[in-house]
Each structure stands twice: as C-alpha cells, then as structure tokens.
Symmetry: D2
Subunit: 238 residues, 4 copies
C-alpha cells in the first residue's frame, strides 16, 4: 500500500472565482480523488494553513510519496518544515512537485539551482514523450494536448535530469522540459509541469495517468532511518 | 506475468569438470530455478546450439525479458539472430547480459562501443551500491562479497550508463562498473558483471536478488509492434 | 592545429536545381569555408564518390574531427569504411554528423539504435539552448530562428545524450533534440539537426558558430593507438 | 586569461605540526604556485579569516574559477557569503571544491543532498580514469597511486554527476567517485577527492595536472549579469 500525501497551498481556490469553479474543493481534493481509485494507494491531503504547514513528524513518517502544489505563498512555508521534507526525501520519500511548485522551497533546496523559467498565460500545450521506456510513460500516448494551459519556457534552471520523460511544445514558440526525474539520496523526485490553477488540467486523463505512474515510480526502493555513514569492516589483512 | 527467457552458450558446463561440478545442468538452469520461484514470472531456457540459436520468432515474440550468458562462442551466433534480438530490444524487450556477455554480439551492437575491459582470474570482489534509490537495488545491502570471483577492471568501454547501480572493488587494485542500466529505444538493458563460470556466484543470495529485481525493472513499459514514425497531425492553422 | 575533414554525400547539389543554387560547390565547400577562417583549424573535404568513399587510412589517421553530411545514399558507403570510422571514433576522433546523417551508417553503428524520427518539409524552426554552460553553446543566443527549415520531430530513437545542448521547436507542433553530445570510447560525438539541403542554413551565423564550437569541443582529449586492455600491475601483497 | 581564486580554510597548516611541515605557507599557496606557472591563468588566494571570508563582491566579480579547500570550520563561513558564491556559480563562475570541501556550505547548497561519505585515515589510493574523453583527463594516465591518502568511501550522497571522470580504489576495500562534474545554471563544478591535509597530495604531478585541466574546463562558457528570464517574442500570428 503506497501512502500518498497531497499537499496544497490552497489559496486561489478560496479567493478566485475562476479557480473556485474548476476546483471547488481545492486542487488537492481532485488529485486525491483520482489517485484514491487505485487499490494500491491510500491518499490523504494537507494544506499550507494546517498546523506545521500540515507536515508534522507523524504525517511525514507515514508518507511514501509527497505531492506538492503551490504558487505564491512559497515563502510562508517554515524553514523547519522545508528541512524536514528535504531530509525525508534524502532518506527515501518520493516527491512530486507540480507546476508552479518549481519555485517551492523544498524543490529548490533539493535542486540547488534557481529553478527559474519563462511563463505566459493562455497558450496551447502539446506534450511529447521522449523516454517511452520510463515507467512514468506507461500507457501514455506519444503526444497529447492541453488547451488552454499556461506556457512555461526554457531556459529552465534545473540540474540535468536523470530522464526528461516529457517535453512540452507551446504555440507561442517555446519548449519546456515538462516531466523530469531526479534522484537525491535515497529519494526519487518527479517534477511535472501542468497544471495552471485556472485550467482544468488535473481532470485530463493523461495528466492523471502520468501522476498515477509517478506515484508508483517514486515509492521508496530502500529507506534510511537516518542519513548515516555506517562503518564497514575493511577486507582482512590490509 | 513476466515471460523470462534465459539464453546460455552452454559450453563450459559440458566440457570443463570444475564448471560441471558447480553447474551440472548449466548456468541457465540455476538462473531459471531461482527466478521461477517468483509468482509473477514464467521462465524458459534456450541454448546456443538450439535451432536458430534458440531464438525463433515465436520465442522472441513471447519474451518480455531476455537474460544472456555467453563467453567464447559469441561469433558463432548468427547475425540474423543478433539483428532480431536488437530489434526486439528497441521495441521494448528487456535485456540482461551477464558477465562475459559484455562481448556478446547483441550487447556490443546495442552499445556501439568495443565493450572491452581488463580481467584476471581468481580475485576477491566487493560490490558496492551507488544508487540505493534504483529498483534493482531493492533489499540489496550496501556492500557484499563474492570470493573468489574473476576480476573485471576499468576502463570498460561502454557508453555512459543511465545509472551505475553497482560498483565493484577487487583486491588486486581494480574498480569496475558492475551493474549498469541503459535504455535503447523502448527497451531497458541491465548489464551485471558476476559470475565467472568457475565460481558459484549464481547461488549467491544477493546476486539472485539483483537479477530478480532487474527482471522486474526491465519488463517492457510500452512495446512497439514495429519501429515506426507515425504521422502526427500538425496543430491547426499553421 | 585541429585537422578537420568534411565528408559529403554530394548528390543533391549536382542533380537538383534548387540545391545547386544554394550550394553550387556542395555543402562541404560552404562548411569548409567558414571553418577554414579559424586560425586553429585546417580543413579538407572529401566526398562519397572518392575512392574508398574518401576515407583512406591516411585521411583518417590525419583527421581530428570528422564532419558528415549525407541523405539518401547511406547504404552505398562500404561497411569496411564504416568500421574504420567507428574504430577511429572509439580511439578518439571527433565526429559531427549533420542533419539527415542521423541515418548514416557510422552514426547508427555508434548509437546502437534505429535513429528514426519524424519529418516534414518546409516548417519554421526555433532553436533553444538548454545547456548554456556547454562549450558548444559559447556565444550562441538563447534562441534563434531558421525559416524555412525541414521539421524533425520526436520520438528520436537515440540513446540518452550526455547533454541536450539545443532543442528545436517547429511551428507545426513538434519538438526535437537538435544538438546532442555523446561519448563513445575515447571519442566525442555531436549530432546537430540543421540543415536541409534545400534551405540555406549553413550560411546562418549561429549555425556556423555552433559547428565551429563543436569542432573545438570534439577535438580528441586523449587518443589511443588501438583499443587495448593494457596490463596493470596489481597492488603489492595481494 | 583565466582568473583563479584559491580559497582556503587555513587552520591545520597553522596549528598542526605535521600539516605545517607539508604545507608551511598553506595548501592555497601550493595550489596557487603550480597553477600560476600556466601562461593562461592569473591566480590569487584568500583565506577564511579574511574580511567577508575573503569573498567580497570585488573578488567574486573578478573570479572565473573558485577553488575551495576546507575541513572543520565550514559552519563559520557566513550564509551571506555562501549565497553569493552559489549565485555566482549559477551565473557562470567555475567551482572546484577539493577533498573535505564535500561538506562545505557552497557545495552542499549546490548539490541539494547531504554529501556524506565514509572515511578512514591512512589508506592506499589508486585513482582510475573512467572517462578518458573528458577534458579534465587530458594527459592523465589510466591509473595512478596516492600513498598514503585518507580513504573516502561510498555511499557518497551526491546527485548523479554529469561525468564520473575518476574513481578511487582503496586498499581497505572501498570505492569512491573521486572526480565528478556537475553543471548548475550557467556554472560548471568539479569535485575532486584528494588531498588530506596530512598527506602531500597537492605536490603529486597527476593531481596538479587534473586540477589544472579542471580550471580550464570550468572557466565560464557564457556568463549572466543576473539570473533573469528575458522576454522572448512569440512567433508571429499565434
């Protein structure tokens, strides 16, 4: 059983009419709903305004994969929480930052770069699969469309991904590494570009399939009780 | 159900007393036995002297993961068979060349390099895990010993692997990239260094665990009926 | 002094009026001309119809970087020549296949994959830099346009590149890994997507800058007299 | 002219007799001396106890490549300085952390991982070249010995390097990714494992050659005035 926690900033859905209409109970609720249909997953949700930003030790100790949606309140997440999230990822917890979470504190801390990019609202996106052998691409068509979606464009200041599973084309002339895998310590990370809060992308079947695949892929392979450097006995007779 | 085919050159076990004592029914039989204990795998074996080197269209069309052990008869495998194996890998079939199969024709054709290395019989090997997040490392200790084992040493002339999951240390002073993953087309490849025919490495529990994990990892994500370049409709109005 | 050899199939420029108008003396001549302006390069040209396809031992032994343009006569290049080119690359010679040379025999032999892709004539290309730290990107703007150019689209069946330095956007809706680096043995390879024979892309200043940078980058770091596995003395007392 | 700044913690050389005997004027002085013999480099040194830890804006603005040696006073380097170093790397400055600088604040901030490893004093090290095509390997033998040297062992908690140029073997049974390249933003990073302060490794000719090569490789390709997301005009008529 994969224990998934969906974390949401949860601001726009409460304050912006357009967003509210699309995600009346919050983006986290829609993601939790489609993931919850899988027999091998148990899903809970937390939001930024919960105590300790929703990420108590108990929650983190019981999370295999953490999904993160955030946009304009990144800097209100406490550094103590960010350090704990980073530590859990290095010890094996999967981490899936979505869309504007490219600027979230846990993601930028794990990347070590600025994670900046270009953007423009209201474009037409075509997503291409560049690594059809990757588990996250299972059952996903070679290309599919999200229209409208916000444009994110290169140069995306991230370290070289282990795999660029998906690449986006935007009508306005930009390309973007939209689905990127990374390993950090014992943990696996998948950054996925969609979806803008004012577009219904999390209802798209391919987006749902990709996030579902990503949860299974990011589930810990091995997990450390702590970052440790255990002593290893030298070979005899040195 | 993962359909595994274990291919063996099957020469030393019939002609060399030491090898015969260790693998009386052939290396393929020992590998098939430990894999066959898994509920999600169905395993068959073929050997080089079978018609069409054991790899008829029917066999290949019904193989999800092909394991390959070979040593000194590489050049007796027909080019027609090699081309078919390569084509099946590019269309999604998993491929796991073991030990001296680094010089097998399918592996060198898929790598594009000479795949040469250094070697010396009768050393002491310590295998280290360098990518504990990789599915092939699941449940494998940080380090384990094979003693005796043949030394394989760098420079190993392979393209940069997607992941070096395991690295070997040899008492004589060498290091070696012992567990390497590659993607080629829709297919996943895992080269694994042990075991020399005169050493009982395929009875080692960690070696068995690694090969078992590798079979699951290499199982096709997506599979092509043929290498094709399907037409994609341009966006409207260009 | 970098010794560059520019190899050309040299067919379209002799038989097709449109191509002849753009490259009256052949694509190889235009490439040799702009490279030859650099004080650190000495450039020669050969064409497919030369004896031994222009690549005698003497030519190859005196080539640091080989540039290759070809389109529809790949299979008329002799296998003996292809094997020699591959061997020279593995021993250190730089190799820069351009545009439709993605299907040339030396490139596909070095990649180990089908190297197939999608294509459509007469599109509008925008090239983006994805790795501004790479030497091949020196002085190249973040993005530049080639219009018209032939579309090449993903899925491009190549092994994962060491770096995707450039990514193309096409008006029709496709993306493509247009500037890819690989290492094979001691050799460095840069595949670069432009230019279609009916478009004047090799006169473009950014295309010229990229190919010039690539020649310097691909120049051998170390060079082998032969692919060898020299004996290394074990540490004392094992 | 490559402007190199060598930064040193500069503690052991002043307080420990053994270290003082090997590096009487400090490790930074020995590194500056051998680099300074190159016609294409101008080298300056700074130490941790200098004002602003030696890294004023003027120093950083005039540094192409920053070399960093540190051991036990990492946490006395101010966060303001660390942030500036990180920012300069992302904008193009080369960065070469040596040996125990694996735990320095700028390196761990750029990596996003714990950067922990195993260690043991007084071992015998053999360094192997795994990427002979890499510019940092130019003229370096396939293998060379440092004896004695401190052992550093895997698991080394770093992100997957772009290239593992060098791999170390230690007599006690460990392996270690000793020469690793990374790109972060516009900057190039080379971590190099030797040398322990109580061993004279920086006098070794191969160590000197590697650091010299690394300086040339890490010199900025392109450099940003600031991390920016310049507007790019969409293609016409979207």
């Amino acid at each position: 059983m994969i224990r998934v926690t969906v974390w949401n900033e949860y601001l726009h859905e409460r304050t912006d009419g357009i967003v509210k209409d699309i995600y009346p109970e919050g983006i986290h609720k829609v993601i939790a709903d489609f993931l919850g249909k899988n027999d091998d997953m148990v899903v809970t949700t937390v939001v930024q305004d919960d105590p300790e930003n929703g990420l108590t030790d108990e929650v983190l100790n019981n999370t295999d994969v953490l999904i993160w949606w955030a946009h304009i309140r990144h800097y209100e997440v406490s550094d103590a929480v960010v350090n704990k999230v980073k530590d859990h990822v290095l010890r094996g917890m999967g981490f899936i930052p979505l869309h504007s979470a490219h600027m979230s504190k846990p993601f930028t801390a794990l990347m070590g770069t600025s994670c900046t990019l270009k953007w423009r609202d209201g474009d037409h996106e075509r997503i291409w699969c560049l690594d059809p052998s990757h588990p996250i691409a299972a059952g996903v068509p070679e290309t599919f469309v999200l229209d409208p979606e916000e444009m994110y464009g290169e140069f995306f200041d991230i370290p070289k991904p282990d795999s660029v599973v998906f690449m986006s084309w935007f009508r306005g002339g930009e390309v973007f590494r939209s689905g990127c895998t990374f390993t950090r310590g014992y943990g696996k990370i998948f950054y996925f570009r969609p979806g803008h809060e004012a577009n219904p992308s999390y209802y798209n079947e391919n987006v749902q399939k990709i996030i579902t695949n990503a949860v299974r892929w990011a589930c810990p392979t091995n997990r450390l009780a702590g970052i440790t450097c255990p002593d290893v006995k030298p070979v005899e007779g040195i």
